[in-house]
C-alpha cells in the first residue's frame, strides 16, 4: 500500500517546527508502524535528507519509550496498543496520516517526534516508592496480600510511563499516570505506612511540573496502551481527600 504522511519536523527545542509531507510507498501490511518509518527514513537518507527522529527501544510495547500522535490519537487508533506494536494491516491504501509529538507544557519537544518526559520521573521521585533499603525485608510470605488486591495492584502497575494519557488530555493532566502508581502501592499492605505522604507529595509534584488538573474527561483511559482504568484517578482523589483530613487532624 502507499501512504501520505505529514510529519512534524523540528530540529531542536528552540526551533519553531513545521509539518512536512512524505510519501511512504510499497508499505507491507505485516510491518509495524515503526518499521514503516524505518523504511521511510532509509529512503530519506538515500535522498540526503536527515531521518525523522522518534523514540523507541524494546519494540514490544513494554518499555514505554515510543509514542506519538497519529491523526490526533495517541499511539493511533488501535485500542491497547503502542505505536511499536501497531501494524500496517490496520491502514488502508492511500490513507493520509498526520504524525505529531506529544503536546504538553510538561513534555517539551526535543526533536521531531521526540519529547522530554523527565517530569514523570520527578513525580515518582517525589513519593512513588516504598522506602525499604536492600537487606531489611522480612520473608516474602510473612506479608500476605489478598489475591484481589494483588490483581488491582498489578493492573495499575502495568503502566509503562509512555505519556499518552497526558498527550490525549485536553488539560494535559498526569492524573492517570500518577493515580496508577498511587493505586499500585496504596492497595498493597506494604504501601500503607507511606500512603498519606505519598499521595500528597506526588500530587504536589505533578502540579509543580505544570500538568493540568483532571476534569474526568476520560481521553486518557481511551488511549492508554495498557488499558489503565479511570478508577485509579478516583482512588488517588479518595486518598488525597483522606490524606488532607488526616493531616489536618
Amino acid at each position: 500500500m502507499n501512504l501520505i504522511l505529514h510529519v512534524w519536523r523540528q530540529k531542536s527545542s528552540g526551533d519553531a517546527g513545521r509539518t512536512v509531507r512524505y510519501e511512504a510507498n510499497n508499505v507491507n501490511a505485516d510491518m509495524s508502524f515503526l518499521e514503516m518509518l524505518d523504511v521511510l527514513n532509509e529512503s530519506l537518507m538515500d535522498r540526503g535528507e536527515e531521518p525523522i527522529a522518534f523514540d523507541h527501544d524494546c519494540r514490544e510495547g513494554i518499555c514505554g519509550m515510543c509514542g506519538f500522535m497519529i491523526n490526533g490519537v495517541a499511539h493511533g487508533s488501535q485500542r491497547g496498543t503502542t505505536v511499536c506494536q501497531l501494524h500496517m494491516r490496520h491502514f488502508k491504501d492511500g490513507e493520509e496520516l498526520y504524525l505529531e509529538p506529544w503536546r504538553a507544557k510538561a513534555f517539551p519537544v526535543v526533536r521531531d517526534l521526540v519529547v522530554d518526559r523527565g517530569a514523570f520521573d520527578r513525580i515518582i521521585a517525589a513519593g512513588g516508592f516504598i522506602s525499604i533499603a536492600a537487606g531489611s525485608a522480612p520473608d516474602g510470605n510473612t506479608i500476605l496480600v489478598p489475591k484481589p488486591a494483588a490483581e488491582i495492584a498489578m493492573d495499575a502497575a502495568a503502566c509503562i510511563g509512555c505519556g499518552a494519557c497526558v498527550a490525549a488530555c485536553p488539560n494535559a493532566s498526569a492524573s492517570l499516570f500518577t493515580g496508577a502508581k498511587i493505586t499500585h502501592l496504596g492497595v498493597l499492605p506494604q504501601g500503607q505506612p507511606e500512603r498519606t505522604e505519598r499521595v500528597m507529595s506526588m500530587v504536589a509534584a505533578a502540579n509543580r511540573e505544570l500538568f493540568g488538573s483532571c476534569t474526568n474527561i476520560g481521553e486518557c483511559e481511551a488511549v492508554c496502551p495498557k488499558l489503565i482504568k479511570l478508577e485509579v484517578i478516583a482512588r488517588m482523589n479518595r486518598d488525597f481527600i483522606r490524606a488532607s483530613w488526616s493531616r489536618r487532624s
Partner: protein, 637 residues
Amino acid sequence: MQLDSKLPSGPIETAWDRRKFEMKLVNPANKRKYSIIVVGSGLAGGATSATLAELGYNVKCFCFQDSPRRAHSIAAQGGINAAKNYQNDGDSVFRLFYDTVKGGDFRSREPNVHRLAEISLNIIDQCVAQGVPFAREYGGTLSNRSFGGAQVSRTFYARGQTGQQLLLGAYQAMERQIGAGQIKMFPRTEMLDLIVIDGKARGIVTRNLIDGKIAAHIADAVVLGTGGYGNVFFLSTNAKGSNCTAIWRAYKRGAAFANPCYTQIHPTCIPVSGDYQSKLTLMSESLRNDGRIWVPLKKGDKRSPDQIPEAERDYYLERRYPSFGNLVPRDVASRNAKAVCDEGRGVGETGLGVYLDFSGAFKRLGRGAIEERYGNLFEMYERITGEDPYKIPMRIYPAIHYTMGGLWVDYQLMSTIPGLFVIGEANFSDHGANRLGASALMQGLADGYFILPYTIGDYLASTKLDKADADNPAAREGVNGAAGLTNKLLSIQGTRSVDSFHRELGKLLWEHCGMARNARGLQQALQKIPELREEFWKSVRVLGSGEELNQSLEKAGRVADYMEFAELMCLDALRRNESCGGHFREEYQTPEGEALRDDEHYSYVAAWQYTGPGSPPALHKEPLEFDYVHPAQRSYK
C-alpha cells in the same frame, strides 16, 4: 595478564558468608566521601545504584534511554527463580545450585552459582517489600510456577511482566535516592570510553545524546551494568538500543572478555516475516508449560494445522525427551526446532517455524485459566501476526535472546582492571554456556542488591586512590578520542546506511555463528568480517552533525563496535572445539545429535585480552573445577 578469580576455598555452603566477614568495610561516615559511577539502569545497574546510595555512597548513574525505567530488563516476561520451597516440592538452595550448574553445561564456577542460589531467597523478600505485585494464591501467599529446565515450581512471577515489575521496583528505589540527592541521574547519555588512571578505572567518557557534548566523569570506581551483546546479530529479542559499546570499549582499555561465543537462542519467538523486520519478539517460555510443540510427521505438509490428524503430528520434544518433554532447556529446544525445520517439516510460509499448540490445555483447564496465565502474550502474538492463537496454534522459531559471555570478573565481580566492576548480563559469571529460564532476573538483582554493594566496599577500603579530575591526561585523551571517532563517522559521507551494514553483519553471524557452528563457516566469517568492517569505514553514511540529537550517529558508533566484536566472538567459537550449551559445533555431537562436551580439554573460561589494533587477542584460560556437581552429559530424556 594474570587471572586471579579470588574464589573462596572450603565448604561451598558457607563460602559467601565467610567471604563477607573477611571483606573490609567502609566506615558509614566515610562512605559519603566516595563517588561511584554506574553505567546502565536495568535490574543490575538500577538495583546497585539504589543500594549504594542507600548505604551512603555518592552515585552517578548513566543510561542512554530517556528514563532509567526503560532499560531492557523491563521486557523479561516469565519470572524469577528462588529456592524458597514454598511449594514443598523438594526444592532447596543446593538443588537450584545443582540445576544451574548442570543447565550451564558445566562451564560456570561452582562458588558463584552457589552464592546466586543462596541470594535468590533475599531477592524475593526484597522485591515483595518494595511492593512488586507478584502473583498470589487465594490465601494471600506467593504463587509459583515451573519454568523451562526445572522440575520444581520455584519461579515467582507477575503475570507475563515480571521483568517490568522487578525493574520498576528497582527504578522506584532509585528515584527515591534521586529525590534525596544521593544519586545523580544522567539519562540520554551514552558511555563512549573508560578512563583508566594509574592502572585503575576512575571514570568514563560520555556523549550527551541531546546536545552531543562529550565529557569526562571521574569517580572512585566504575560499575558497568550495560547488558549483553545479542544485537550484534541485528535481529534479536533485545531492545533496538541495547549495545555492547560500553563493555567493548572497556575491553579495549584492558578488561578481559570471557566466553564471547556463548550466546543463547530462545526457542519461543515469533518467526521472521519479511526483510523490513527490525527485531524479533519473544514469547515467554512459560508458554511451554501448557502448550505442546509439534510439526507434521510428513515433509512439506502444507495442510492447515486443524486438518492434520493427531496421528500425523510429531510432538518431537515429548517423543525424544519423555521426562522433560516440552520443558527441556532452551538450547535443546532450539536445536530440535532447527533440526525439524532442516528436515523440511517446518511450518508457516517460510518453513522456519514450529507449532505451539494450546488446544489440549483449553480442554483441560478451560479458556479462562489460559487467559489468566498467558492473556497478554496471546494478545501480543495476535497483534504482531494478525492470527488468533485461541483458534490457530502459534508458530514459533528460535531467536538470539541472551548472551552468557561478557567481561571477565572475579568472585568479587571485578574485571581485570582494578576498580572496574561488571554486573548482570554484561559479565560472564554465573550461567556457564547456557542460562536457565528465570535466572537472568535473579542474577541481575543478586549482583545489584546483594553482592556488589559488599565487594565494592572491600575494594574502596583496601585501595589507595589518588586525587583525579577531568583535566587528567587520561581523561583528556579519552574525550579527544571519542570526539575524533564521532567526527570520523560524520566525515565519511558514504553511500550506505548504518542499518544496511548492521543487517549484513547480522546475517553473516546468524549463518556462521548462530544456532549451529562449524570450523569452515567460522573461518569464512573471520575472513568476511574484516572486509565488511573496511567497507563500513569507507562507505557508511551518517547525515547531520554531532552537536544535536542524531540517532544515526548513535547507531553508527554501536555498529562500528559490533564490527570488531563479531570477530572476537567467531574466534572464540572457532577455538572452542567442543559443543556445550548455547555453543553447538556440528563436528562435536553424539550419534543422537546431542551436544558433546570435551571436559578434558575445554573445561575452562576463555578470557581474551586486547593487544592493540590489528593484533590478534591473547587467550588466557581459567580452569574450572567441580567439587559438588560431577560433570556428566546433560540428559533430559
